[in-house]
Symmetry: C2
Subunit: 338 residues, 2 copies
């Protein structure tokens, strides 16, 4: 049985998450029972939602239990199978967690999904053609539902969700404005990801300057907003919304570390007759087929060329994750496990 | 030509609105041109939205111009007509404003609506079977869209919107919980208006105590909320929402006088996958027919017996209006003009 490096949640953050919240251990992979599959992970996905799970507070999901392998999406290869549906060599997507190998019950619906790497690189199934891509698709198509010519805005623009959002919104004839951290990311957003404009939040660190920058980048106002961040950026966006704008709330990364961040002026929801909707893409499995088909098509056609930030080796996962929370990644943050 | 008492907006409030913001004047009603109708008002409606119009800030509607008659809904009787569609004696609803008479162009669509007072008292067309009733209907039916057995909550429970909301929600098999100011209003809500429970916000003046009271009154959580107030009550409601709850935002009376009131923890919108939607009923004229039919039926059947708070004489309108903003009214606030 191969040895299996794993990262466990050792203790919960007090305020900001730190590396010592995690613990690296090594175990042996167990022998397979009937119906089980052994998957060797090639890539682990790091995502902001994981920070929420580290807290011991009520959220939409149970907290990550202490002393267990951190949860996370993975892509890899079947190396051993006691299930008739899977054969060694199959490329699969799953929720294998922060470890090198996982043992999966092949009969659990949705636990593993076989994928085709002919036109789409394996790692993209954790990003543009995976959960983040479907997240962008759901927020744009099902909540914002833009008409051609409308202006839509997304925060964390160069991340996996943001870059998929841009390609999907351009395909629908929208003006797409991103918000990202630093001039390099902003140039990349407009030069490579199809954004019509991108605002550097580091150069606009408060509601007033951000609101002014949004006014310039969105001369016709904002009709749709995809929220990955929260905090003052949301306040600034609210000030620039058109009547009947729709806001898809998917991440509130800015508030994960401590006290909840308030919304300064919720009366704008009434004044501008806004619709705000929070969602979690895993609760909308019915759209995955349609969304993945469109996203795969955009990647295959070269219209969605997502950037990846790849950390090497499982031991680097904690520091890469903490960097992600601070916006240090550039594109979809992955860990190459193999 | 009869003399016409009018209340004008004389100057804008600085902070809290005061009586000296208004000015009472007397003019002569002009001679009618062809197509015009002279309406003698019986009742003037006082509504929280008027406070927003007194400010000189961007909102969904233009500010009330200074030196002009305050806008407002009215019911009355046609006393003179130069329009073939209207005959003296017709009972009509319109937007006649804070004055005894109004001259109306009979050709403007929606400017006047003839009403039948056989089963519904004239004054109710400003309340339960008028704009406030339709407001309750739209928020409940089109935004909250409750299933039987769900729990819905409304603030300003004994007002015109709240009492209509209760009757409409009971007709749909919901548990209906109100929030109102003082034990007298709360007893009335449960004894007369059909509420299953009513919370006195004066006895629960902060998020913590209000949230606890909501937990007791809503043992299965909150599935729908109709917001007339804003401020800490909204924060407390958010803490008690079930997953996928819907919030119709119709009034934010708590924030009209000064600084915007923040929402303490907007991340709950994501955590509980909430939908919040702001609306103004005048933008949804397509539902008025259906809504008024249901509301008129509930009144005629005795299932909706709205209470009215009637101030006597046009000169009392400013003080009655300021009382409304402080929750001093008990039921729909009207001014009897005749």
């Amino acid at each position: 049985m191969p040895l299996n490096q794993q990262v466990l949640l050792d203790n919960r953050p007090e305020g900001e998450a730190v590396e010592s919240n995690f613990r690296l251990v090594q175990t042996e992979t167990p022998a397979l029972s009937k119906g089980q599959v052994l998957v060797r992970h090639h890539y682990l996905s790091l995502d902001p939602y994981m920070r929420g799970r580290m807290n011991d507070s009520k959220s939409y999901a149970e907290p990550q239990p202490l002393g267990e392998v951190m949860i996370g999406g993975t892509v890899g290869e079947v190396v051993e199978s006691q299930h008739p549906k899977y054969t060694p060599g199959d490329k699969v997507v799953g929720m294998g967690g922060w470890q090198e190998y996982s043992v999966v019950d092949g009969d659990v619906p949705g636990a593993l999904r076989r994928v085709d790497t002919t036109h789409v690189p394996l790692s993209h199934y954790l990003g543009a053609v995976g959960m983040p891509g479907v997240t962008a698709w759901y927020g744009l198509v099902k909540i914002i539902a833009p008409k051609a010519g409308e202006t839509v805005v997304v925060s964390a623009a160069t991340g996996a969700v943001g870059s998929a959002f841009a390609a999907l919104a351009k395909a629908r004839g929208c003006r797409v404005v991103g918000i990202a951290g630093g001039p390099e990311k902003c140039s990349y957003a407009t030069a490579e990801l199809g954004f019509d404009a991108c605002i550097d939040y580091r150069a606009h660190p408060d509601v007033k300057t951000m609101s002014k920058a949004l006014k310039e980048a969105c001369p016709n106002g904002i009709d749709g907003y995809f929220e990955n961040v929260g905090g003052y950026i949301l306040d600034a966006v609210l000030l620039r919304t058109n009547a009947f704008a729709r806001l898809a709330l998917c991440g509130m990364i800015a508030g994960y570390d401590g006290q909840p961040l308030p919304m300064a002026n919720p009366a704008l929801i009434l004044i501008n007759r806004l619709k705000l909707e929070g969602f979690i893409v895993s609760e909308h499995m019915e759209v995955w087929g349609e969304a993945l088909a469109e996203l795969g098509g955009l990647v295959a056609a070269g219209k969605l060329r997502p950037r990846e930030s790849i950390a090497q080796g499982l031991a680097s996962a904690p520091s890469a994750f903490l960097g992600l929370l601070k916006g240090k990644n550039f594109g979809k943050q992955l860990v190459k496990v193999i």
